[in-house]
């Protein structure tokens, strides 16, 4: 089991410390912050981004990146909403259809990344624009408000009253988020495919030489990201009770910053589900804290941008200093 010194080398440990400091500071500054109901509300409002983050995370581990997930989520959500409202299909058909649409959009990304061999960030920025613009063009930007009840009704799994008299509800988005994180953990840590994704992200050439099926892994990673995005899209419509084509657009960077904040490397192969969970928690706390302190929402955008810049530069710098110090370590002793 990891002892304290190895714990100190992990970004998760430091992130947890920072989160603890934030929680203490915010609960001193605002009385509402440290309450169960605020915490549960916070979790629910971040559940959709967390579900998308798990998909993005798998792609990051595989050594790629996906910027198109929010557009994918919107397309899948809208297609499913159309099937449910215009054709009155049952959830047994609508939900799988939405998930399939998301997965297919992910496969398109995988096809382009694998066969055109273009940098995945370029490909997925382009597909993000295509997916989203097609959606806006086809729908004229109109929202669908008349979702069937099975979809728009709030589904509560657990409900209780706190000592202070607040009503706390554990709802569907929270449960789906926990299930997604769990699924993703099992996938990456316990399944063979997951370990192969880590391997490919760590050294793609070695993975190719050892004979891993690179195209299958790419399709799996981007397909999984599409699937998770679609799931997030469906959950988001449940949360707000309508399908709005541009509701998720613009969340790309905050989800990405949650991932890199949690220690996922943009170079691939490094990162844990625990880290990404903490990353989302951190972002949620920052945003909530800014709200409670009545600070402009643009500050949040500055923070997400700064996080990506800081953590990517730090990764690059630490890689460089590590290769430098390794030169000495590896110089044979006489």
């Amino acid at each position: 089991m990891p002892d304290l010194s190895s714990l100190r080398n992990r970004p998760e440990f430091w992130l947890a410390c920072v989160i603890a400091i934030f929680i203490v500071a915010l609960s001193l500054a605002t009385p509402n912050f440290l309450s169960i109901s605020n915490f549960v509300d916070l979790t629910e409002s971040y559940a959709v981004q967390a579900i998308m983050a798990t998909g993005l995370f798998v792609v990051l581990i595989a050594g790629g990146i996906d910027i198109s997930f929010a557009a994918t989520a919107s397309v899948a959500q809208y297609v499913a909403a159309l099937l449910a409202t215009r054709f009155g299909l049952s959830p047994v058909l609508v939900i799988p259809a939405g998930l399939i649409v998301g997965t297919l959009l992910g496969f398109i990304n995988a096809t382009l990344v694998h066969y055109a061999r273009v940098n995945s960030i370029i490909i997925t920025i382009a597909t993000m624009n295509v997916y989203f613009a097609l959606l806006m063009y086809a729908t004229g930007g109109h929202s669908i408000y008349n979702l069937p009840e099975w979809w728009s009704d709030r589904i509560t799994f657990l409900q209780f009253e706190t000592a202070g008299g607040d009503l706390v509800r554990i709802t569907l988005p929270i449960i789906v988020m926990i299930a997604s994180l769990g699924l993703c953990w099992v996938l990456l840590n316990r399944s063979k495919t997951g370990r192969q994704l880590y391997a490919m992200g760590g050294n793609a050439e070695a993975a190719r030489r050892i004979g891993l099926n690179i195209s299958r892994l790419q399709f799996f990673a981007y397909g999984f990201a599409g699937f998770m995005a679609a799931l997030a899209g469906l959950v988001q419509a449940n949360r707000v009770g309508e399908a709005v084509p541009n509701a998720l657009y613009g969340t790309e960077l905050s989800v990405l910053s949650a991932a890199v904040l949690g220690g996922a490397s943009l170079l691939g192969g490094v990162g844990t589900i625990g880290g990404i969970t903490l990353g989302i928690l951190m972002l949620a706390i920052i945003q909530n804290g800014l709200n409670l302190l009545d600070i402009s929402p643009y500050c949040f955008e500055i923070i997400t941008g700064a996080i990506i810049l800081a953590s990517t530069s730090l990764t690059a710098l630490s890689v460089r200093s590590r290769t430098r110090s390794r030169l000495v370590e590896e110089a044979p002793n006489v």
Binding site: R190, R195, N203, A206, R209, I210, G211, L327, E330, V334
Partner: protein, 495 residues
């Protein structure tokens, strides 16, 4: 008694574009033998390994048998299932995964799931068989090179190997580590596992091999019992030429010093380096990979900044802010990894050649005419005897040796007084090597001070007037090539 043949190749070809890397290979490896594969850089050894391990499919028409079974289609998974494992020169490990995961990577544990306990058990068991102990849970990128090599060998063994290829396994090891590795190879062989050992360190080859196969230009020169070859014959078989007589080292120390460093240090790279390069002198800089040679060269050329010490060029202390400063001071640097760092493969020979001297070609309006660029390229192509059809062709249409000449021309066009050549003939075949050596000597006759970074003894002894040995970032020795033999110097480097 002769053991049964495990791997057998008949008439195997491999073509890349219009380059034939393997030309009709007939070869066999017996069960449990130690077999060395030797040959010059670019002779096809690596391609051969990739062909028999399923990385590259050979051209249609050849025949391959493993344990008597004819192989029709081939991929790395299948090759390993048949017991063929490769320890690549770069080891091809997963730096982010743990030692245990790397070792048990394709041991095929669990179905769809990867059980941690079984992986650790398998890894432990395999390391025990090798008689080594490594921390199973550490990521591989925290290990030393020698330890990583053990991991790579263990990975092969865990995949139930019957034949392990080791591609240049000793390139960055110390003598003691090499000895341990050779013991390990003997142990594998005793356990019935054949090992094909690729090396160009001839003393190792003769120390360990039962049979030696020599390759040249994509062909098999032949397979010989190890006792039948001495080193001179081996070199002759590998290169097809008798080694050129040694260049006679000149004493240049009374001439002007063109480049001097005093106690130059950069943390983690090189330490307290003091050296002098004289006008018209060829100074060799050798040492193990990672000894700090290239790092030092980068600082001399202004691409990194030393932490302390002085750099003196033509009697004047200089602090280069970048390599433009260095270039302006009369330095030029031909990098070691020219294929990745030095050339723009898709661009024309002209574009590649004049990139460093463009400002000098500008007319009084600051514009550059195509005619002057083409003229410059033609001049250098003629002077360096580069074989090509048109200077407008992409540089990657040239052979390695000719590409190297174009890159040399690029730097020579700036008329440097100090030229740093980092591994100038890597990937160049032997005939062209001799040509590049002659060019180095010619340049030095014209007064250019040249620093040659190399680990090839033949190269150093063919060009240098003095050889410095770097170890652990420090200068460990200063040798006159007329007073020491290649073998003796090599002994010291790998000691």
């Amino acid at each position: 008694m002769t053991a049964a043949v495990f791997l057998e190749l008949r008439n195997v070809f491999k073509t890349f574009g219009n380059f034939q890397a393997l030309r009709g290979i007939d070869w066999d490896v017996r069960e449990g033998e130690i077999h060395c594969l030797v040959g010059e850089n670019g002779c096809g050894k690596s391609t051969l390994i990739k062909a028999v391990s399923g990385v590259h499919a050979p051209d249609a028409g050849g025949e391959m048998r493993i344990a008597g079974q004819e192989i029709l289609s081939f991929d790395p998974m299948r090759a390993r299932a048949l017991g063929i494992q490769v320890v690549f020169q770069d080891l091809a490990l997963f730096p982010n995964l743990s030692v245990a995961e790397n070792i048990a990577f394709d041991a095929n544990l669990g179905r769809g799931f990867s059980p941690k306990a079984a992986i650790r058990r398998k890894a432990r068991e395999t390391l025990d068989r090798l008689g080594h102990d490594l921390p199973l849970d550490l990521p591989v990128d925290s290990l030393s090179i020698a330890e990583r090599q053990i991991v790579a060998i263990a990975r092969g063994l865990a995949g139930s190997a019957r034949l392990i290829f080791m591609d240049e396994p000793t390139a960055s090891l110390t003598r003691a580590e090499v000895r341990r590795l050779l013991d390990l190879v003997r142990k594998l062989s005793a356990a019935g596992i054949a090992v094909v050992f690729v090396s160009h360190r001839l003393d190792e080859v003769s120390a360990i091999a039962e049979r030696i196969t020599v390759m040249r230009d994509g062909r098999m020169v032949g397979t010989y019992p190890a006792y039948a070859l001495d080193q001179r014959t081996l070199i002759h078989l590998m290169t097809g030429i008798e080694i050129a007589s040694h260049h006679v080292a000149r004493d240049c120390t009374s001439r002007d010093v063109v480049l001097e460093t005093r106690h130059l240090s950069r943390r983690g790279e090189y330490d307290d380096v003091s050296l002098c390069l004289h006008e018209g002198e060829v100074l060799g800089l050798t040492g193990l990979l990672g000894a700090g040679r290239t790092e030092l060269a980068l600082s001399l050329f202004g691409m990194t900044k030393p932490d302390s010490g002085a750099l003196i060029v033509h009697g004047q202390e200089r602090r280069f802010r970048n390599n433009q400063d260095a270039l302006a001071a009369g330095l030029a640097y031909v990098s070691e990894d020219r294929l990745n760092l030095g050339i723009n493969a898709e661009q024309s020979i002209v574009d590649n050649l004049d990139i460093a001297v463009l400002p000098g070609l500008a007319n009084r309006f600051g514009l550059i005419s195509d005619a002057s660029r083409t003229q410059l390229a033609r001049d250098w192509v003629a002077r360096l005897n580069i074989k090509l059809s048109s200077v407008e062709d992409a540089i990657n249409t040239l052979s390695g040796g000719n590409q190297q000449r174009v890159i040399l021309a690029r730097w020579l066009a700036s008329h440097p007084k100090i030229l740093i050549l980092d591994s100038p003939t890597v990937g160049v075949d032997i005939k062209n090597k001799e040509g590049i050596y002659a060019l180095i000597r010619e340049l030095s006759d014209q007064g250019v001070g040249i620093l040659v970074i190399s680990d090839e003894m033949i190269e150093l002894f063919a060009t240098c007037d003095r050889i410095l040995h770097m170890r652990n970032g420090r200068i460990a020795g200063d040798y006159n090539p007329s007073l020491i033999t290649e073998q003796a110097l090599e002994e010291r480097i790998y000691a």
